[in-house]
């Protein structure tokens, strides 16, 4: 056990850091507001294109798909630096982290050729059609139907709280092909397909983030199905394992905390009670960081990651909350728009315990798998 970065990792971090510094525009702080605004999405395409050219978009992907077979540490260092800067990749981080790798594992050759190269070039945005009005944490209860008609499927139903749907090119969509948990299939659906209607839902997260997506007699070819019928649960399980540690929210939380403290110091407002809150938040950020690193270390060593991933995610939720509350209490002007980066963190932080599965689901997993408490009766 040791906590040193090696020279190669330090050099890689410096490369990413310098790339970001050189490629963010002067008005970046104003673009970075809200994670999915039109402005940010447009900028992300330009930025991700440049990242791809520099070999920094998908370094952890296999060489045959435009990557460099870099280990998970590099992918995580990259993600940390991106989040610290306010995530200039916008919604494309999903392509890089799990959509691309999932297609590499389960996609047909035609699907791989169609979708992976544009991701590797930073040209495309996806959305994730999981949640429905009646199916959030209980995802297996989803109702969107895909009825087979010859060599096509007709999809009807509704998705909701879908991030990036307004500007996405393609939807990674879950739909029911038969009853029960084993009756869910995945479809890769171009968002321009007739019958798809997207409606933005105004939200506290910011402009352009969450949407309703309606599917009315949307006709897709059989070849749009990812994997076999009923394989969604296996594929999603694998996809989530690629994303186990989640996004390094602690990195942006730490940067935000230091920004807030710096403002308070300038105003001589970093005093005893305030210091205590800041220090507690900083300690929580460092705990989340170490938990996350432990999981990356397991991935590098091919050690199966169990409930530690849920422990790490919950630690991240705790630190996000402490930092967010610190800003609200001590730099409230940020929430009124006077500091775009602090506001951007606040808006991203709101979803920390909700996006990619509610934090309470993580607590259930920790109780059962990590503490080995008896299960709740069903």
């Amino acid at each position: 056990m040791d906590f040193n970065w090696n020279d190669e990792q330090l050099a890689f971090r410096a490369t990413v850091h310098n790339f970001i510094k050189d490629n963010l525009p002067e008005n970046w702080e104003h673009i970075a507001h809200g994670p999915a605004s039109k402005e940010q999405t447009v900028f992300a395409k330009e930025f991700c294109g440049a990242l791809a050219e520099a070999g920094l978009l998908v370094p952890h992907w296999p060489v045959e798909w435009g990557g460099q077979d870099a280990d998970p540490w590099k992918a995580f260092i990259l993600a940390e630096e991106m989040w610290m800067a306010g995530e200039p990749r916008g919604g494309q981080y999903m392509n890089v982290n799990w959509i691309g790798p999932t297609l590499m594992l389960f996609g047909s050759p035609a699907q791989q050729q169609q979708y992976i190269p544009p991701m590797a070039r930073g040209e495309t945005l996806w959305c994730q059609g999981f949640s429905e009005p009646e199916s959030g944490s209980d995802l297996a209860s989803l109702r969107t139907r895909a009825e087979r008609k010859g060599d096509k499927y007709i999809i009807n139903g509704q998705k909701i709280w879908t991030s990036y749907a307004g500007d996405a090119d393609t939807c990674f969509c879950l739909a029911r092909t038969s009853q029960g948990k084993g009756g869910i299939s995945i479809f890769l659906i171009p968002m321009t397909t007739p019958g798809i209607t997207v409606r933005e839902i105004p939200s506290i997260i910011g402009e352009g983030d969450i949407h309703e997506v309606f599917f009315d007699d949307v006709e897709v070819a059989e070849t749009a199905r990812l994997g076999e019928e009923g394989q969604a649960w296996d594929i999603v399980g694998k996809a989530l394992s690629l994303e186990r540690v989640g996004i390094p929210r602690f990195a942006l939380a730490t940067t935000t905390l230091h920004r807030a403290v710096s403002l308070l110091k300038d105003q001589n407002r970093f005093t005893a009670g305030v210091i205590e809150q800041a220090a507690k938040a900083k300690a929580a950020c460092e705990a989340a960081r170490l938990y996350s690193y432990q999981i990356i270390d397991q991935r590098v060593k091919n050690i199966p990651t169990g409930a530690e991933a849920s422990v790490g995610r919950y630690a991240t939720v705790i630190c996000e909350r402490l930092v967010s509350e610190f800003v609200v209490e001590h730099v409230p002007e940020a929430i009124s728009g006077e500091n775009p980066m602090l506001l951007a963190h606040h808006q991203r932080g709101i979803v920390a315990g909700i996006a990619s599965g509610a934090a309470e689901i993580q607590l259930n997993l920790i109780a059962t798998q990590y503490l080995e408490l008896p299960r709740e009766p069903r």
């Binding site: 040791d2 906590f3 800041a278 938990y291 408490l373």
Partner: protein, 300 residues
């Protein structure tokens, strides 16, 4: 970055676990607070475990791992300061070592051969003689507690030495707290897994499951911060580790007692051995506000 134990660290952990196995159960007729074991102390001394931080292939990280493991025992001995603080100072410190902070009673003060005397910002060292200390057997803290009654000749440390002392006291506090937190959580998990109410184990109730899960997240975080601080010897890391330890303890102590109900109030469950050690550690170096002040100085 490497989060698994290397061969040397595994060997230390294995040897510590082997030694600790003899001290895993409290005596059935013990219904007190300070379950001190001179035999545990002797065996650690005889096997040179107090020197592992100074061994080049081991270092303070291995020592912190040992402290964390030994803190999970129902028996206690002066381990943390001997293993972590003593090797950090270039001064000969006969062990056991104890701390007198602002004149208050301290743990292991009655058996200590070296006392760290903290008075406000000044830190000194003294070596008590027989009659200089007085045991406080009625203390609820589950350590042998004693206070200073004699007048000691105190050798004041330089500012830089005092900083080193405070840093390693914080690392020691966090490493010991990590083990105590784990032991208290394990005991409570065992209790709510078997204790049935309303026809089912308490541990099936989501209201309790979630709280225990949150406690586990905090406890694991304390362990990582303590190990990182032992590895880096950084004053900021040490302050964060001790702060997170004391902050987490305040939450976990309440929750484990609440979930253990009246059983946890009895002296037969052993829960108090860990929770009342945690309570003793919570006040060290000014408690949370003291650690936060240090974190404010070193981390921001």
């Amino acid at each position: 970055m490497d989060f698994t134990l290397n061969e040397d660290q595994l060997a230390v952990a294995g040897e510590i676990d082997k030694l600790a196995a003899q001290f895993k159960s409290s005596p059935v007729d013990f219904h007190g607070f300070a379950l001190y074991s001179a035999e545990l102390d002797k065996q650690l001394e005889d096997n040179q475990f107090f020197d592992i931080a100074a061994m080049p292939e081991m270092g303070p990280l291995a020592a912190a791992l040992a402290v964390e493991r030994l803190a999970q025992l129902p028996y206690t001995a002066e381990v943390a300061l001997s293993m972590l603080l003593r090797p950090a100072l270039n001064i000969e410190l006969p062990r056991p070592i104890a701390v007198i902070e602002n004149g208050r009673p301290g743990r292991f003060v009655g058996v200590a051969k070296t006392l760290i005397i903290i008075d406000g910002d000044s830190v000194g060292i003294a070596h008590p003689q027989a009659g200089d200390t007085q045991a406080i057997p009625e203390s609820l803290f589950a350590y042998p507690m004693a206070k200073l009654v004699g007048k000691l000749d105190v050798q004041l440390l330089s500012e830089s030495e005092a900083d080193i002392v405070r840093t390693w006291l914080r690392v020691a506090c966090a490493a010991e707290m990590a083990g105590l937190l784990k032991a208290a959580i394990d005991a409570t998990v065992e209790h709510i897994s078997v204790r049935k109410q309303f026809g089912r184990p308490l541990g099936t109730l989501q209201a309790l499951r979630h709280r225990m899960a949150e406690c586990a997240v905090l406890a694991g975080g304390v362990r990582w911060l303590a190990l990182k601080a032992a590895w880096s010897a950084d004053a900021g890391d040490a302050a964060l580790a001790a702060l997170h330890a004391q902050e987490s303890a305040s939450r976990v102590i309440y929750d484990v007692h609440q979930m253990s109900g009246a059983m946890g109030m009895t002296l037969e469950m052993d829960l108090h051995l860990w929770t009342y050690r945690m309570k003793a550690l919570m006040s060290e170096l000014g408690g949370r506000s003291g650690q936060a002040e240090a974190a404010g100085k070193y981390c921001f």
